[in-house]
Every structure is written in structure tokens, then in C-alpha cells.
């Protein structure tokens, strides 16, 4: 037993001791930042300012500044809400489901993907808030006794959505924070002055007490077990916002698994988009190995195949239901004015996806990086197809109307992208992007057995 190398031995490559490994993992926090980091921070910061300006315009002038109208009353704002929420899902998946499955390769990836989830949910949550005609009354979605004697309608998926998103953001934040606590204690002991104080407060005075560790681990695994169904439930509830409606193209029972698969697919793609440059800029090839990326590409493929299957199933359902409006909607998607969007989505998420079957493509980091971006373009197109194209043509031919987003719509989108990058850049400067305590623990396990 002692002589047989651990099967996951190559998850940490290179000659390390605990001390050098910790030094390496804390480099993004303790050493001066590399140049690309500054570029990301600056671009992200500038776009964040543009975003705030677009929100300001929306608040001052109202929703007339957006392209939404009848019948397309849900436009890019809802597209982006669904897009961002979906991206968040991979973080929870990597951190929670892979903990339960005891997958050692998650230890290099969970922190940065959990942070990705955190900022993606924040970005997503802003869209419904600013889409409210009177955002100052946002708290009306909460159940509280009002002088109007009104309550939220709990048979409506929109009310479910409020609680699903709130639960999701709470559990993701606590899970991220819980994982950070031991690393914060380490940073506290390695820094001086005000930094030591701040890390000390944030670490809550964690000492590494072995009994505390036992309870910590129990709660960590418990939260992982709870986060797993939450992740599936959140995007299922989001999908019911659509599926409960009668709009042709929305009213499908297949929506919950469709959305959940799409979320995992886009989330893993976004994780690849972030991790491939990150490991190069910070020289993390020894701890985020090609095997890690290969696993992520495989999960992307598996979830993407689920998405592709449902694309084809949708066509079948539209035909088999013999519902004229459903079939007309399908034809409208394929041949109408938005057909290029539809076929671009099919090209990426059905055709190009198949390249990931082949190790040659999975191991080609340029292609993997490019595809990870394309996949999220494809998922953006999918949400555009579902939200905008479905609404643009309903039961009455006279209702058909195209949708033209304005600069405010686009600035809100680019702004959330900037905010996402800005937030992540700051995050990895303050907190280690790879879970140090977990990596050192993994290192022990791999080298000692």
C-alpha cells in the first residue's frame, strides 16, 4: 500500500514541499500583481463605471430607454439575468457535487469558481431589480405585512424565483466564506500591521483547533449536500418563469432539465475562460494541470450534449404536439428574421461542441479557450432565442413585432461583464484564488500514501 503511488498523484506536478507550495499559492496575494491583472482591473473598472451610468439613466428616465415594448416585454435584461445565473452554477457544482463525490481535482478549482459564482449571481440579481418599473419598491417582493394587506402570490414562479435566488446567493456566499476561513488565518499569521488586523477579523480568530476542524468539515460537507439540490432547483425555478407562461416556445415541461443542463454547460465554459489565462499569468501549471482542464472539458461536453439533445427534442415536440402556434414558432426561429441567431446557436452548441469528444481538441488550450468563449456566446444566443424570439411572435400574426435593444441595454450587459472581471480581479488580489489549506491537505494525501 505504502509503495503504490496514489492514482491522483499527477494532480500536483513538480517538486514541491508544503512550504514552497504555500508560497506559490499565496503569490497572487503576497507578490506584486502581473501586468495582465492591471489591464483586467482597469478595463473591468471602466466598464463598471459605464454600467453605473446606464443604471443611472434607467433610474432617472425609466424603462423607456430600453428596447423592450409589446410584445417583447422581456428583452436583453432577462436574457442576461438567465445567462449570468447559469454561469454561476458551475462554481457551486465544482465545489459542492465534487466534494460529495470525493473528486480530488476540485481542490485546485473550487475557490476561483466559487468566487466566479458569487460575482455572477450579483451581476444576475441586478437585472430583475433594475427591470422593476419602480425599483425603489423592490422590497415588495418580500412577504411582509403591509398596510395594503397584500401578500406575494406564492403560486407564481416569479415569487419562487425571489426565494430561490436569495437562498442561492446565501448558500454560495457562506460556502465560499467557510472555505476561506483557514486560509484567512494563514494570511493573518503571514502579514503585519493593518492587514493582519483585517485578515484576523475576517478569519474570526480561527486557530486550527483539531476539534473545530472536525465540526468544520462536518458542516462543510453538509452545506455541499444542501447546495447540490439548490443549484438544480434554482435554474429549474428560473425555467418555470417561462414554462408557466402560455407563450409558444416557452410552455414546455422539458424546461427545468433544459435550463439546468445549459447552466452547467455555460458555467464550466466560463470557468475555463477564466482559468486558462489565470494559470498562465500566475504560472499555476503545476497545480492546475492539463488533467484538470481535460476533466472540465469533459463535463462541458457532457452537459453540452444534454443541451444539444433538447434543442433537437424541441423541434420534435413542436411537430409532435400538432399545436399550430408551437410549430409556427419553430418555423419562425428557423427561417424568420432571427434565423441567423438560431443557426449560430445550433452551430456552436450542437456542431462545434462535438470537437470536445477528441483528446486532440481537448488538449489544445487555444481551441479550448476559444471554444469556452464560443460556448457562452452560444448560450447567450440560446437565451435570446428563448426569450426574445418566442415573444416576438405569439398566437396572433398581427402581434408579431421585432425587438431592437438600445445602447442602454448593451451598456448594462458590458457593464456587468466589467463588474464581474473587476470583482474577480480584486478578489484574487485579496484572497488566494486556490484553496491553500485544501491543496496542502491534498498534497499530504498524495505524497504520504
Amino acid at each position: 500500500m505504502a509503495d503504490r503511488p496514489h492514482p491522483d498523484r499527477d494532480l500536483i506536478q513538480g517538486e514541491w514541499t508544503e512550504k514552497t507550495l504555500v508560497e506559490k499559492l499565496l503569490e497572487p496575494v503576497e507578490k506584486p500583481a502581473p501586468r495582465p491583472w492591471r489591464v483586467v482591473l482597469a478595463v473591468g473598472g471602466a466598464l463598471t463605471l459605464a454600467w453605473l451610468y446606464a443604471i443611472f439613466v434607467t433610474f432617472v428616465k425609466g424603462l423607456g430607454t430600453w428596447g423592450i415594448n409589446q410584445p417583447v416585454a422581456w428583452g436583453l435584461d432577462v436574457v442576461h439575468f438567465v445567462w449570468w445565473i447559469g454561469i454561476g452554477h458551475a462554481g457551486t457544482l465544482i465545489s459542492a457535487i465534487l466534494v460529495l463525490m470525493r473528486q480530488n481535482w476540485r481542490d485546485s478549482l473550487n475557490r476561483v469558481t466559487e468566487a466566479m459564482t458569487f460575482f455572477a449571481i450579483l451581476a444576475a440579481a441586478t437585472f430583475p431589480l433594475i427591470h422593476m418599473g419602480r425599483p425603489q419598491h423592490f422590497y415588495w417582493v418580500m412577504p411582509y405585512p403591509t398596510h395594503m394587506a397584500l401578500w406575494p402570490q406564492y403560486k407564481s414562479p416569479l415569487s419562487w424565483d425571489v426565494l430561490a435566488i436569495m437562498t442561492y446567493i446565501t448558500i454560495s456566499t457562506l460556502f465560499l466564506y467557510l472555505g476561506l476561513i483557514p486560509d484567512l488565518a494563514l494570511l493573518r499569521e503571514r502579514s503585519q500591521g493593518w492587514r493582519r488586523k483585517v485578515y484576523g477579523w475576517l478569519s474570526l480568530g480561527w486557530t486550527g483547533n483539531a476539534v473545530h476542524w472536525q465540526r468544520y468539515r462536518a458542516v462543510y460537507v453538509l452545506l455541499a449536500g444542501l447546495a447540490t439540490p439548490v443549484v438544480i432547483s434554482v435554474h429549474s425555478v428560473v425555467s418555470m418563469d417561462f414554462a408557466y407562461g402560455l407563450v409558444p416556445g416557452w410552455h414546455l415541461t422539458v424546461f427545468p432539465p433544459f435550463f439546468a443542463a445549459g447552466a452547467i454547460y455555460s458555467g464550466f465554459a466560463m470557468a475555463l475562460t477564466l482559468i486558462i489565462p489565470l494559470r498562465r499569468w500566475y504560472r499555476l501549471e503545476g497545480v492546475v494541470t492539463e488533467r484538470h482542464l481535460d476533466w472540465m472539458a469533459k463535463v462541458t461536453l457532457a452537459s453540452g450534449l444534454g443541451v444539444a439533445y433538447i434543442y433537437l427534442l424541441e423541434i420534435f415536440i413542436a411537430w409532435y404536439s400538432a399545436e399550430p402556434a408551437e410549430w409556427a414558432q419553430q418555423i419562425w426561429r428557423m427561417t424568420g428574421p432571427y434565423a441567423p441567431y438560431y443557426w449560430a446557436m445550433m452551430l456552436i452548441n450542437v456542431v462545434l461542441l462535438q470537437t470536445l469528444w477528441f483528446p486532440r481538441f481537448r488538449k489544445n488550450l487555444t481551441w479550448l479557450f476559444l471554444f469556452s468563449i464560443l460556448a457562452n456566446v452560444g448560450m447567450w444566443l440560446e437565451r435570446f432565442v428563448i426569450v426574445v424570439i418566442s415573444l416576438s411572435k405569439d398566437f396572433l400574426p398581427a402581434n408579431a413585432q421585432l425587438y431592437f435593444p438600445t445602447w442602454v441595454d448593451w451598456t448594462l450587459f458590458l457593464g456587468t461583464l466589467g463588474f464581474f472581471l473587476f470583482g474577480l480581479a480584486l478578489f484574487i488580489r485579496i484572497f488566494p484564488p486556490i484553496a491553500v489549506a485544501e491543496m496542502v491537505h491534498l498534497f499530504h494525501k498524495l505524497r504520504r500514501h
Partner: protein
């Protein structure tokens, strides 16, 4: 003033041996400090027994709150939607589920802080000069000077015999 001894071991097995030996010799006021969870520590120092039950109780509470919220608000503001039953329970599943999880998550996190005595402003072991080692790659055992069996010579000798490097921790 002397807080106690910090003993550094280079392997978790040695730490477990030492805890057993000290417990056997009648020491009670000791604390193990480790960089990661050590398997088998709950047999010698106690562990997490109550956490699953607390989580279960919180879950029952959350599910109850969720159902109560929906039933109460529906009865207080009854609305006929498409002639469906007023208390059509299948529509209550998602919110009940989310509130169950939300209650467990927040509650168990606070419970974890409570049983671990966190947040903690200061701790004698952290004053050890080499304390950071137990956050990196070594396994520490802190023996409080307040322990009735504590003895400057004998305790040090015992810890060293168990394979530890011993540091005296004093108020600076």
C-alpha cells in the same frame, strides 16, 4: 506569565499518540492545532456528534416556516387563479424547499461559530513564535500551564519523548 507549552509534531500519527499518552497520564487541559482535519481525532478529543441533528431540527423548522408562510398568506389574501384549489400544495413545494435549505444554511453556520467559540479575539497558542507552522505542515499540541498535571520539567520531557519540538509560550 507562562501560558503553556506548544509541542510541534511532524506527523498526525505522532500527534494522536501524544494526545493518548497525555490523556493517559491525566492531562485534561490540552488542545490540538492542525493545518487540516486529522482522521481519528474525534476518538481522542471528541467531535461533531450533534451537528447532523441540529441541521435536521433546523430543516424541520425551515420547512414548517415555509409552509406556514404560504398557507397563511394564501388564506389571508385568497385569490382564485383559474379555479384551482386555494391550497394547491404542489405549488408550495419550491418555496418550502428553498426556505428549508436557507434556514439550515444560516442556522448551521451560526451554530458552527457558536460551538467552536468563534469569533475569538485572542488565544494563547497564537502567541507561540512558531505558531504559523501548525497552519502550514506541522501538528501542534498546546498544553496549558493551568493543567493540574503541568510541570515545567516533567511535561517538557514527556512531550520530547513523544517526538515533539517544544516551545514555551509566555506573555510577551
Amino acid at each position: 506569565m507562562l501560558y503553556g507549552f506548544m509541542a510541534y509534531f511532524d506527523a498526525p500519527e505522532k500527534l494522536l499518540e501524544a494526545i493518548k499518552a497525555l490523556k493517559g497520564a491525566g492531562y485534561r487541559h490540552i488542545e490540538a492545532l492542525t493545518p487540516n482535519p486529522v482522521e481519528g481525532i474525534e476518538e481522542v478529543l471528541g467531535g461533531n456528534g450533534r451537528i447532523p441533528w441540529v441541521a435536521f431540527a433546523l430543516g424541520v423548522l425551515g420547512a414548517g416556516l415555509g409552509l406556514f408562510l404560504q398557507v397563511y398568506t394564501t388564506l389571508d389574501y385568497p385569490m382564485n387563479a383559474g379555479g384551482k384549489p386555494l391550497l394547491g400544495w404542489p405549488a408550495f413545494i419550491p418555496v418550502t424547499f428553498e426556505l428549508t435549505i436557507l434556514t439550515i444554511t444560516v442556522g448551521i453556520f451560526l451554530y458552527l461559530l457558536y460551538v467552536n467559540g468563534l469569533p475569538l479575539a485572542d488565544h494563547p497558542a497564537v502567541r507561540a513564535k512558531d505558531y504559523v507552522r501548525v497552519l502550514l505542515d506541522e501538528y501542534g499540541l498546546f498544553v496549558y500551564a493551568s493543567d493540574p498535571r503541568f510541570d515545567l520539567e516533567a511535561t517538557r520531557a514527556l512531550l520530547q519523548a513523544l517526538g515533539a519540538e517544544v516551545e514555551e509560550v509566555r506573555r510577551a
